[in-house]
Symmetry: none
DNA sequence: AATGAATGAGTGTTCATTCAT
DNA sequence: TATGAATGAACACTCATTCAT
């Protein structure tokens, strides 16, 4: 969420980046409060007053930092999307091979989902509130997976015909395993889940 | 959608089932209009007037058949959920073996998604509007897949350790392949998609 | 309520008097149901459906007998008003003198109020729903009392200066004692109440 | 009405008391407009828009100060109830004896009713809109009268058996005399009314 | 006479956004 | 920057009344 505090990226007319330390604290408070509210009540059942009250700031202050409710939501979605990418990249860092890397990504993702239950609600709701971000999220995730698979093919670790379809299939697996074992349950053995899924992929993508 | 016209099942105080032929036509018009509106604008941006206007009936008639906007949405979600199940069951009917059946299911599902683009929007939004139906939808779908996998194991067609995790993984694959190649694109070769995914599963779930 | 079944009195264009026995039964069912609903929920919180449902007749049948919700209410108010007059006249029948008569009226009225708790609610609400009937009710009640007082003066039983003011004062006493001891409480000794009030009047209106 | 502007007393979740001078003006405007609208059209025929339009404020501003239409009505009822008590207490201040005090109360009350024709409509309608306030109003008024009678008994100014029944009887007299000579007529000699009623009480409650 | 589906005007309430202080 | 009162468009829902059967 750090980069959000620095600059949301897409401010059109006016720069809403805080200039003072106090402003930075206010912005962060709003963002944190929003993540909780949107994650539990959903976009439409969350009001700006609820966010500002939880953040402990005045209602009007909201518009010092965001142009609209949608703008805040978009900022949150993009931030979460980025975080998911970072989590994957970090997990994959010291993987021995492609398939080991995918296991690490899944394990890290399910764990992340468990820690951030608001993740699914916020990204899923983007389909309705901010479709562009929603598509961008999944397309970039699929692209990242696809790139890794491409590397694997090149290195001869995977079948030669593995491509985009498999990338989307893997993403779907990950998302639903994260939902089932990260979000819907508290006590699942996430390592076992990652192992089982990896067994499927290891056989499925090789030879 | 046929069973909706008959009886939604959960009428609490008053029976809202139409008794006359005219009533049945009105109900069907509302349901069809609602599927379109909810599917394109989403639940919150769809108004009851918009639905009744599209259906060509009076605003008040809506409440002759549904207790609330949420009730209508719920009816729609449950109906779509049922339809998805039916589509899968039909597709699987004359499959030679388990894996062939899964291929047929995926092919049928992606084709269905392409024909009913409102499907994803409506079921996804249920996560926010009617969480119980949302969970029920995915849990029952996973259960059905799991049951089929169990059969496969029993018949020796699949690895012995295949179970719930693989069921959710397959469901995730299917959902995202349906999204990518059924909904997001118009011209994808759905047979090729089903074949590729099946190649992954066939290797992944056997031995 | 008997005369209501015969003829409501003020039907303008169409005669809504039932011609068949079945019609008379329906009308009576509606009237009885309405008295209960209006008496417990009040005019605005009572719906025509509620009345017809309680009466066990179809919604549309209501308009076979009444022009509007207001018309039904008016019929009820006028009927209750008449009943109150009858109760008083009956009670006074074998009174020895004026003051004894007033005691009998109060005793009968409080007892009637206890038996017909809907009385106050319906007549009071007429102030808002049908002001003309409301005024008529109280004005005619005051006139009746005034006439009796006039007789008393003539016969030398009461002070010569007793008149309209005293009539309204007595009516107010009766109404509030009926409210307090007839409606608000179940176990009051209504005879004691009538005696106490009469002691006040007997001293107050003589010499 | 002064205390309403300060604090209505029963703010549950959020404090709706205005903090700025402008806010106080807005609240007062709404209260004044509501008294007129409720008093002339009654609760159900008065809309929030009508109130805010008359008050010259935006529709939404209503909800800055009141939780609902009922809440506003309740505030008004309680305020009027308080005012009636104050009027009585003021009138009684320099009375020579109990009975003289009661005459002063009645005279003041009928005059007040004439000045505030909305009084009856608002308090009477509370029977349907806010029954608790309605009962509280009459019970506390009766209690005040009862207390004064108790004093009179103690001082030997009244018969020893005068009590609650007489208190309710007097209240009824006052209410109906206020209705008849304060509200229904414009030109009644209120002093003469108070004198006549007092003659009745003076004789009726002594010896 | 009876039925109940259809109608649509009417209204309380919410809430994102603006703006004066 | 911060504050919170003010604004008004938008919308779900109710229900008296009509009318075809």
């Amino acid at each position: 969420m750090a980069d959000l505090v620095a600059n949301s990226g897409t401010d059109a007319t006016v720069d809403k980046t805080p200039r003072t330390e106090r402003g930075r604290r206010t912005l962060r408070a709003i963002l944190d409060a929003a993540a909780i509210e949107f994650g539990t009540r959903g976009f439409h059942d969350t009001s700006i007053v609820a966010i500002t009250q939880r953040a402990g700031v005045a209602l009007g202050s909201f518009y010092t930092y965001f142009d609209s409710k949608e703008a805040l939501f978009q900022a949150l979605v993009r931030d979460m999307s980025t975080q998911v990418g970072v989590v994957g990249a970090t997990a994959i860092a010291d993987a021995k091979d492609i398939l080991d890397g995918e296991r690490a990504v899944l394990a890290a993702f399910t764990a992340f989902a468990r820690e951030h239950r608001e993740l699914y609600r916020i990204i899923d709701e983007a389909e309705f509130v901010d479709p562009a971000s929603y598509r961008a999220h999944y397309e970039s995730a699929a692209t990242r997976i696809g790139a890794r698979l491409g590397d694997g093919v090149q290195r001869g670790e995977l079948r030669a015909d593995v491509g985009e379809i498999e990338a989307w299939a893997i993403m779907g697996m990950n998302v639903f395993l994260g939902l089932r074992y990260g979000v819907m349950t508290d006590d699942a053995d996430l390592k076992a889940v990652a192992d089982a899924a990896n067994a499927l992929l290891r056989r499925g993508l090789t030879r």
